[in-house]
Amino acid sequence: MPDTLLFAMEATLNGLTAGVMYALVALGFVLIFKASGIFNFAQGVMALFAALTLVGFQSGQIPFSHLINAMFGTRLHHFGWNMPTLLAIPATVLVMILLAVLVERFILKHLVNQEPIILFMATIGLAYFLEGVGDIMWGAEVKALDVGLPKGMSGAVDDVTFAWFGYGFYIDRLEIWAAGIAALLVAALTVFSQYTKQGRALRAVADDHQAALSVGISLRFIWVLTWSIAGIVALVAGIMWGSKSGVQFSLSLIALKALPVLILGGFTSIPGAIIGGLIIGVGEKLFDFFMSPIIGGATENWFAYMLALVFLLFRPQGLFGERIIERV
């Protein structure tokens, strides 16, 4: 088999796993948009905030210690204990649920029936607020995140592909795990929305707010539920991306990776987020593989948007999005 074909196959495989990482971020956007029509600009910052909180719990860091020290002249930093990961993750989930309650109580409740653009602007404000709170609460330094997920080259994939093709493919074990976790997450979300009372209520609200309200579904509860689930998805994305390159401000910028995925897959489709992620992942890796020698690399950021733009021209609602028809 020619080397170029082998290398292209390796790039495709890596594109698929990278695509799953993008899809993890896109899922949070889809959940909130589907249930409330809000494009949540803060989703990336929620991933950062969740990851910061998790590391803070794991390392026993005292929240707001810098602020407390500055105000009272103390030297507080750590509680003096480390929280096991299995406890720290549920504790972080609770914080994300609390955040969802606060978002509903202090922002969404006051913006019922407002235009989508107003709600979008509110999430921009929320993003900057959360970013600042995260900084003050846990500090701006880079933090290592280790929840015990394996990292590095998969020896099994290397051995198998070497036996088949005489060239061992590289694939990061963390990304294989991410693919598995994303599959579980999608399965859990599907089961929740199809087979639970709350899930059905959520779908009802997504279909028609007014009709859902008329049958006694609490819009406020559904919003808290949706934002809580999006917070948990943000935590998963934060763990995966934070394990790759540490927890720091740039983690919030992974949201930029989700936008082309959403344009491609549609803002209202969970399978769309996954398929969109895979198409973007494979597309950018193959484009980089073939074009980098000619145009010098660094193509990943803009190529994803260009691909999304081409899709947008032919299918504005995305691959799986609902077609927008407004009657006059």
Partner: protein, 430 residues
Amino acid sequence: MKMTRLAATFAATMIATGPALAETLHFPSLSYRTGPFAAGGIPFADGYSDYLTLINERDGGIGGVPIRQTECETAYNTERGVECYQSIRGDNPLVLQPLSTGITYQLIPRTMEDGIPMHTMGYGRTSAVNGEVFNWTFNYPANYWDGASVIINYLLDENDGSLEGKKIALLYHNSAYGREPIPTLTRLSERHGYELLTIGVDSPGQEQGSQWLQIRRERPDYVVMWGWGVMNPTAIQEAANIRFPMENFIGVWWSGSQQDVRPVGAGAHGYKALAMHGTGMDYPIYEDMQRYVIDAGKYAGTGDEVGTVLYSRGMYAAMLAVEAAKKAQEIHGVAAITPAMMRDGMANLEITEELMAELGLPNFGPAFSVSCQNHGGSGAAMIQQWDANAGEWNLITDWIEPDRELIMEMAMEDSLAFAAENNMTPACLN
């Protein structure tokens, strides 16, 4: 009547505060404590501020005139950096430290026009080394091209003086900063016979899958990195993932701090980086720093960055600024110096080993002197290596000199082109 009284009070206040402001030495800091690069900006800003605080607390300022510090947040954003400049340019800033190559490029023509000196230590426009063109910009003790040349000289030492047939990959931040070493490495490849492979990474650099697949395919002997922010730990993690020999992976001085290696854990063991100064707290100055700044609770930020690589760099930048101010006072015979006098101090700065020892920083930085023609210092740097087990950087070489002849030749070409574009006649300022 009421307005007249108010105006009189205002005038009296201005008269009372005016001389007080004039009798301080204004050292602004264009810092970034927020944004994607905050993790690198915070320790630098803390080190810069703590050293100036130490000079105020211990020595009562410079030549008896207290230092006034101001800080303006740029978030490593060029537009915001320019806004910061506009807000402080009328407040007698003695020296600007933009800490960003993008901001530096924007400020070079402005500072030339306004007569404000700028110090871009280890970053910025490399050809500013030609002081006859860039009268107001200084980039001592080393610049990017020095750094690239020092790495090649180190690799020559490692390979018995020959890099013939070797392949070196440059993994660079796809920005003005990251592209700076390409001309030098290209010219040096022609001289030493190695193959140069350039691989760009888009900012911020969290996703480098394609780049490291390419490195795995191309199998370079060495990877040189020009990264910043999250690009650094991501690259080191990816290198560990593909089992690239870490001792053959060398970063520039902006890719060699604790923030870059700690998130990777044991995988970063053996990674190397340039060091333009020493690091750690094994220097006598830290006794004073502890006594006058830390224990007194007068430290900047949270006080937990003291002694780290980027804190040390900020402290070093402040030390060089203070020494230039002393030189300016000496030249002009006045304590309350102006930005123009500060420029003269910078252009005549001389750092000796004895002076470094006297300041409590023996062998912390290289000995060098600045002149009207050469604003770049010695260009020497050391190589440091990360020990993940001990959690510390260890210096593994002495000062390595760059190929200054080639660098000055390239700097002259670039700076004279700049002068021609701007209708300038290169000359020293009197």
